[in-house]
């Protein structure tokens, strides 16, 4: 390393050797190839068209930081421009064609997370994220109700009148957006499960999963929240966790195992997959026709991050009366609602535009209903749907209706 480089690294924003060791090779693998195939599938880049908002830049910055050209203070704001949808990783030729050889995958989402964490460690905060996480830390749930307080006292209000119990071997986890805002989703899920004879309970004290904090760089807080939730699960004797939100599903299947290692022995079940099983096995029958023309919005964290795209379609095809106009899941790599990874908190204008374009694509199919399987996507999509005369439904809301349930 040259003296000049050393001098450059003296800046406050320089990453540690440990950070560089983890990301150097991945950064060069992207930097040197420079394909940029990730660009036109990136939902944020499609709107901003700013080269500094691309996965290429996100990796090149590591190289430039090591050479002492840039510090985290120069780039922190750029890393806001990512919904962590994972499209870039899927479209990356490095992942597609070298994966087997190296067991290598370009981990752009993790890199963005690491950079955001580095920024917070260096006391570089994005103002709205800082506020959001402070409130979450205080209230234990995300402040999803603008101006109205969220609190532990009300975290299970959505379940009012459903006669749900606490604890048991199977626990239903309900994310903040669904618990406080789109309450029809957890109500639908709970009633579907009951109708199918599934025994489950709620947590004694459910905190935010911690995933959003982790995504915005507040790693310590994310970990604390995870510890609380896992302790609560253990206290009530839970062995399996039913998850209705794709973001929670990422937290519980990727973040939590990282925190707790082998001790983490919970079975994590995605409600969409579980309900598809119930329908397939005849334990849940859908007999009330839904006279709608619908298309499906592939939730990014299911389709792009987890490869789950068959079950939602299987469910939609099982709903009587529904005319389903599908757009294949690979085409949808470049679709997004823009709601993920805190983008809507720092750049609500971008979230709105990404959602507007998503609804516009749906509209072109001559449908009246856009079905999603992610509560976080449903608010911005609904906002845009109003202007374009498209109704947004959660898949479970439709299932409940088709099962004859009143949500």
């Amino acid at each position: 390393m040259s003296e000049e480089t050393r001098a450059g690294q003296a800046s406050n924003g320089a990453p540690s050797e440990e950070f560089l060791d983890e990301w150097r090779n991945a950064a060069y693998n992207c930097y040197s190839s420079g394909h940029k195939f990730c660009r036109e599938v990136c939902p944020v880049m499609q709107v901003t068209r700013d080269e500094a908002h691309t996965p290429t830049a996100f990796h090149a910055n590591v190289v430039a930081m090591e050479k002492g050209h840039l510090g985290i203070e120069d780039v922190a704001r750029d890393y806001v421009h990512c919904t962590m949808c994972g499209a870039c990783e899927l479209r990356c030729p490095n992942t597609l064609f070298t994966g087997d050889f190296y067991r290598f995958r370009q981990r752009t989402v993790d890199l963005v997370k690491a950079m955001r964490t580095l920024a917070v460690e260096k006391a570089i905060h994005q103002p709205n994220w800082k506020r959001w996480n402070e409130v979450t830390d205080r209230m234990k749930s995300e402040p999803v109700l603008n101006g109205t307080s969220v609190s532990q006292e009300h975290v299970a209000d959505w379940a009012e009148g459903l006669d749900l119990t606490i604890g048991g071997e199977t626990v239903l986890f309900c994310d903040c957006e669904a618990a406080f805002y789109r309450t029809s989703v957890p109500r639908a899920v709970a009633q579907i499960l009951k109708k199918a004879g599934v025994e489950f309970g709620l947590m004694r004290e459910q905190w935010c999963c911690g995933g959003p904090a982790a995504e915005m760089g507040y790693a310590e807080q994310a970990r604390r929240f995870a510890e609380h939730n896992v302790a609560d699960w253990r206290a009530v004797g839970a062995k399996r966790i039913l998850v209705l939100d794709p973001h929670d599903y990422i937290s519980f299947t990727e973040d939590y195992p990282g925190y707790f290692g082998d001790d983490y022995d919970f079975e994590i079940i995605l409600v969409v997959e579980f309900v598809a099983d119930l329908i397939r096995d005849g334990r849940l029958s859908l007999s009330v026709p839904i006279e709608r023309v619908a298309t499906y919005h592939d939730a990014c964290r299911l389709n792009k991050r987890k490869g789950i795209h068959k079950e939602p379609r299987e469910i939609l095809r099982a709903i009587p009366g529904l005319e389903f106009k599908d757009v294949d899941h690979v085409t949808q790599w470049s679709y997004c609602s823009g709601a993920g990874a805190g983008l809507g908190i720092e750049r609500p204008d971008l979230t709105a535009e990404i959602s507007r374009r998503r609804v516009e694509r749906a509209k072109a199919l001559e449908i009246d209903t856009l079905v999603s399987a992610c509560p976080w996507s449903e608010r911005p999509l609904t906002d845009q749907g109003k202007d374009q005369d498209i109704e947004i439904y959660d898949l479970m809301e439709l299932v409940a209706e088709a099962a004859g349930l009143q949500v």
Binding site: E40, A52, R77, L96, F97, F101
Partner: protein, 503 residues
């Protein structure tokens, strides 16, 4: 190295023209627009950054920015995708970068006269997503198809992988509007009408304003060819025991006169050996397969079905073995993702190293391919011997002519470079190797570049030799159109135009 910051008054003027949110001066905005995928001296990064970036949203804004640059004598560098393999979009003298990515709208689809008019920041794949709905395709298909932009394709005068059937960028762009280096907006085509494909009226200015690597202006709008989406695709890969028989077969296939033939690609022994060694996605072949030829055809079913039979017959009769449907269809279908794979190479002792792909291209007459191949590999061997960070990944030769793909070939040698190892010595050796590769191309009656352009360090030194009196004309044109040398200065040795002018 300190970069002089621009006068604040200039930034304020740019803000007045483009709007505050479209004028960027932050360090990351500048550093992330300093390079393209070509080998880049990371240890000298600061030499290549612009001082300010503008993201215009209208042609008039570009014209005003260029006018400002002239008034203040500040260099202007246009940038579209920044995916080129020569340094057109890399600032050599800092200045104002005009990044056209926000101008990515489709302005008109004309079903009657069969044109689509677009802004320069649109990507071909995205354009085709729209055109597909109407049964059309815009078949400009470079290796960078998923990411390069129409404006850059014009500035580079790009080459298309299926150009044998549909033509290359110059054949597919009918006319365009360009902001000249002094800020005037003009429309250039084959003649006057923006949708006229063939004209004999006046100078043929369309060609002049293509492939100039941003030294003659900035494209703001282009009218492109609309082609019926092909009903049928046929691809066939053939194997050969040696290069010579593959080369003979390539010639026979290319000369077949089949109008649906989109291209013939010849893989030499180094390429096959490299893929066999390090490409996990390469489907294993018996050891006697040492050279490969790939072909592809497009058209209506009625055309492609009989043509495919004829193509197979020629391939087999000239010594090829058909490699089967899996390779023929699968490898061709994934061609865009595969142009830089496997993305690792080997050091001299066989250790795997994270290397990136770099491709030196030239146009070489068919008859000269075997001789050029020997000389290029010798240059690469010398480079690898001196620096244990380069790896010879073999050669491809692609049919180069539009519609008549038999005379000359886009010939490339792919060299893996372990870019973490750059220093001044290895960089100088690389530049020298590039110059040597270009010299061989000229010795054999070729051109330094078929598709990338030839304005990078090393090769550019030989451009006057290649063009002869033509280079004098280039300088005269440059000086006439860009009297103050503000438009992408430092490229193509064009500074010489001004040195002579002052004598």
């Amino acid at each position: 190295m300190a970069i002089a910051t621009l006068d604040q008054a200039v930034v304020e003027e740019l803000v007045a023209i483009c709007g505050e949110e479209h004028v960027l001066t932050g360090k990351s905005a500048l550093f992330n627009r300093a390079r393209v995928p070509a080998p880049f001296p990371t240890h000298r990064w600061e030499e290549y950054i612009p001082q300010v970036v503008v993201l215009p949203t209208a042609a008039q804004q570009i014209a005003e920015v260029v006018e400002l640059a002239n008034r203040r004598r500040i260099p202007v560098v246009p940038r579209a995708g920044g995916t080129g393999l020569t340094d057109g979009a890399v600032p050599l003298r800092h200045g104002i970068m005009v990044d056209v990515k926000l101008m990515n709208r489709i302005l008109e689809i004309d079903h009657e006269d069969r044109t689509v008019t677009v802004q320069p920041g649109i990507n071909m794949l995205k354009l085709n997503e729209e055109l597909r709905k109407h049964g059309y395709i815009y078949p400009d298909n470079p290796a960078s198809y998923p990411c390069s932009l129409v404006g850059g394709r014009i500035g580079t005068s790009g080459w298309s992988l299926i150009g044998g059937r549909y033509g290359h960028t110059r054949d597919l762009v009918i006319s365009f509007e360009i902001v000249l280096p002094t800020g005037e907006r003009v429309r250039v085509g084959d003649g006057g009408g923006p949708k006229v494909r063939k004209s004999s009226s006046g100078y043929q200015l369309k060609h002049l304003f293509m492939g100039h690597q941003g030294t003659l202006g900035i494209v703001t709008e282009a009218t492109l060819e609309l082609v019926p989406r092909p009903e049928a695709e046929f691809s066939a890969f053939f194997a050969y025991p040696d290069y010579a028989s593959a080369w003979h077969s390539t010639g026979a296939l290319a000369r077949s006169g089949l109008a649906t033939l989109a291209g013939v690609v010849l893989f030499d022994e180094w390429k096959v050996a490299y893929l066999r060694r390090d490409d996990e996605a390469y489907i294993p072949q018996t050891p006697d397969v040492r050279s490969v030829v790939a072909t592809a055809m497009y058209g209506t079913v009625d055309e492609v079905r009989p043509a495919a039979k004829r193509l197979l017959k020629i391939g087999l009769e000239t010594g090829g073995t058909y490699l089967g449907d899996e390779i023929s269809q699968g490898d061709w279908a994934s061609r865009h993702d595969r142009y830089a794979t496997p993305l690792h190479g080997r050091t001299r002792n066989g250790q795997v190293a994270p290397m990136s792909w770099h491709c030196e291209d030239a146009s070489i007459p068919y008859s000269q391919l075997p001789a050029v191949r020997e000389k290029w590999h010798a240059i690469a061997a010398n480079l690898c011997e001196r620096f244990d960070m380069f790896d010879d990944w073999g050669m491809f030769a692609y049919t180069n002519g539009a519609f008549k793909p038999w005379g000359d070939y886009l010939t490339e040698i792919d060299i893996g470079i372990w870019e973490m190892q750059w220093d001044d010595g290895s960089w100088a050796a690389w530049v020298e190797a590039k110059r040597d590769i270009a010299a061989v191309s000229l010795e054999h009656g070729g051109s330094i570049s078929a598709c990338h352009g030839s304005c990078r360090e090393g090769e550019v030194d030989l451009v006057p030799l290649e063009l002869g009196g033509g280079f004098e004309v280039m300088k005269t044109i440059k000086r006439a159109l860009d009297p103050l040398n503000v438009m992408n200065p430092g490229k193509y040795l064009l500074d010489q135009a001004y040195e002579e002018g002052e004598e």
